[in-house]
């Protein structure tokens, strides 16, 4: 049976490949035939004018409002532009915004806005002053502010000022409503998680999750290391304790350490970041304790190397080639060193399991490692390894949230297609 299915695959895939190649070249040639050479834009610079003598019309309707969702050191100034220049009036190039704490001045220039071609449009300037009292640009909170707009021209003597605006105050807000989408999502997700935690507590570990090759490999790898009598190398990457990928990796490290202790093999954890190093020590020690073998833990299993990227890589490379670990596990944040580590591991003949959420490095892990956890799979991995009901529950919540997102995305695309832009806008977080 297997033989038959294999032959049918063999017959199918080369044909498929051929079709893809064909299509590729079809697109290549047809598109290149249509593509024209780049167009060069000619700049028309034949505009010399006589110097006008009169000041431009004044800008008007200066209104000032408190800027929303901030700490109270910014206001938004709106004004209408000067009217189109009459005979002899200078062309307005831009508007300078002046601020004062009193109606009569003194005035301080806070910024400028270039003029718009359409003079009927109102212009907006956000005056975000400093929040530091000693700063030159300090904008006091809850104090009356006055604004004036000056239309400026190419000639610095020709300008005209607007009326002074009505007083306005910059006020700090208690709630950033621009971040409402984020808030609602966190709320939704927290409730979802809490719900599934309850479900998980009742149903135990009977919740279904599909197998993940990379995770199953971890168990095998530990067994293999035991058989070979060789250690396991666990690399947490270059992340700091403030990278969530690293935090996720700690949980996996804890499980790995526990299994390793049960099987009586060794785990080596060279660390890059000192805080990560401290936490990793604690994690591995706990793993050994959970396995009931606290004495087997040695402090030199988890050690700090250095905080320089390539010095760290050089040292880990050395470890890989000298200790010849049976398995290398790379989980966390990785940058350019990903391929150096993975290829050195391949030279040493180790089984390699990698996982990161750094998209730029995923291709290298995919190419050079035996198993790769792509993005979210890294975060899900801890639930797989422990199969603790609580972690499984959280994973379920994640999946349901994803389903909601997929439905929302499809709905959103349809709504935008039908011209209801507001639907997509509702998901935009500002500020």
């Amino acid at each position: 049976m297997t033989l038959q299915s294999r032959t049918s695959r063999n017959a199918f895939w080369p044909g498929f490949r051929l079709a893809v190649y064909g299509m590729m070249f079809g697109i290549v040639f047809s598109s290149s035939a249509v593509l024209s050479q780049e167009a060069t834009a000619e700049v028309d610079n034949a505009s010399t004018m006589l110097a006008p003598m009169l000041a431009p019309a004044a800008p008007g309707n200066v209104t000032v409002e408190d800027a929303p969702n901030d700490a109270g050191h910014a206001v938004i100034v709106t004004f209408s532009q000067s009217q189109a220049p009459a005979d002899g009036q200078a062309l307005v190039l831009g508007y300078e915004i002046y601020r004062s704490l009193a109606r009569s001045g003194p005035w301080k220039k806070v910024g400028a806005v270039p003029s718009d071609v359409d003079v009927t449009a109102s212009l907006i300037y956000k005056d975000a002053g400093g929040s530091d009292k000693s700063s030159d640009d300090y904008l006091p909170t809850e104090t009356d502010l006055f604004y004036r707009v000056r239309a400026v021209t190419a000639d610095s003597t020709l300008y005209s000022d607007s009326e002074v605006s009505a007083p306005a105050q910059a006020v700090g807000q208690w709630w950033n409503s621009g971040r409402n989408p984020v808030f609602f999502f966190v709320l939704f997700f927290t409730l979802l998680t809490l719900y599934f935690l309850r479900v998980a507590k009742q149903r135990g570990d009977s919740l279904y999750i599909r197998p993940l090759a990379g995770i199953d490999a971890v168990d095998e790898a530990i067994g293999r290391a035991t058989e070979m009598g060789k250690p396991i190398l666990y690399v947490l990457g270059l992340g700091t304790a403030s990278d969530i990928a690293t935090i996720a990796s700690f949980t996996i490290l804890g499980r790995v350490a526990r299994k390793v202790a049960e099987y009586q093999t060794d785990v080596i954890v060279p660390c890059y970041d000192p805080i990560v190093f401290t936490i990793a020590q604690e994690t591995v020690r706990t793993g050994y304790m959970d396995a009931g073998r606290p004495d087997a833990y040695r402090d030199d299993q988890v050690y700090f190397v250095t905080q320089a990227q390539f010095a760290y890589v050089a040292a880990v490379n050395g470890t890989i080639l000298r200790d010849r670990p049976a398995t290398n596990i790379y989980l966390g944040k990785f940058y350019a060193e990903s391929l150096i580590l993975a290829e050195t591991g391949a030279i040493a003949g180790s089984i390699q399991i990698a996982g990161t959420d750094e998209i730029a490095q995923l291709p290298f892990f995919v190419v050079a490692c035996d198993y790769t956890l792509i993005g979210e799979e890294l975060y899900a991995a801890s639930a797989y390894l422990g199969r603790e009901p609580l972690l499984l529950g959280a994973l379920k919540a994640q999946d349901y949230a994803k389903a909601v997102i997929v439905v929302l995305a499809i709905l959103g695309v349809i709504m935008s297609g039908l011209g209801y832009e507001g639907f997509a806008k509702a998901f935009e977080a500002v500020g």
Binding site: E38, G130, D137, A336, A360
Partner: protein, 330 residues
Amino acid sequence: MIQALFLSPVFSPLFSPLFSVVSHGLGPVFSWIFWILFVAGVGWVFWRTIKGREVERRVIFLMMGLTVAGAVLTGIVLPVQETVVVRNIFDTIENLEEGDKVLLSLDYDPSGAPELQPMAIAVSQHCLEKKLKICYMTLWGTGGAMIADVITAIRPDFPELVYGEDYCNVGYRAGNEAVLKVIATDFRKTFPTDVSGIVLDSLPMMTGVTACPDFSYIVAIGSGRPGIKEWVEYVVEPSGALMGSGAAAVSAPQLYPYYPQQMNGMMGGSKGASEYEKMLRRGYPKYGEFRAQATEIMGPQTVAHVFLMLLIIFANISFFLAKKRKGASA
């Protein structure tokens, strides 16, 4: 003699459309040895492939080294094809007026330098030819040395430049994105002084510069974080400043979505840099005599690409042959 042979009428038609060979000291003597080794090596790898054996990793390493070394020694220069993405930066600078100010941010370290330093140099040369005023800055602690290198590289060609009038260097400030957030609206808050502690107000070229949009053009050249993405997010988007960029080849694909809305042009890797060098040479023929660093890198890069493609083709041939053999024996 060897060089003459290489450039002789017999051989040159063979090579000239492909590449031109520049004199490189002793290079040509070595280069021939390397080329012979390269061809022999590729042949050997091919032979192994046909025989159905895997090629050892070290052989691949050696071949890769030989390929790049041979190309470096030969000094291959390939024809460069210009693209609109790079052209836009060149044209923007070309169309600025004398005395306009340009902000050049060099956000990389020595590892990014082979790709990015040539961009910084070419853009600086172009600006100075156009008599624009350049202000250098960096978001990377290691960038200070890069700025110094650029200035030493271009200084001899423009002996009449005056520091503070024609160019200045405000150096590095710690704070990554925070620096950008501030300078988008207030340049002096983060950079009250230049790199050597001179108050910015006492530099004539910096009068009138209060925020990033006061520069006629910003060119951000960067290889990571903080870099171009942060420039777009924290400077271009809030303040609407005009920006072009130079990115390391690795990060260029991620930055494509910002073109052309947020940045009007982008140089991607050495390819982008060599395009810029070519435009510069065409506009200002005197640069024909100078080293075009990026263009020099492009040759070896392409040869390495050819080698890599050959490797991949061989790998697939050997794979299919192995499968066929397996099928025949089964």
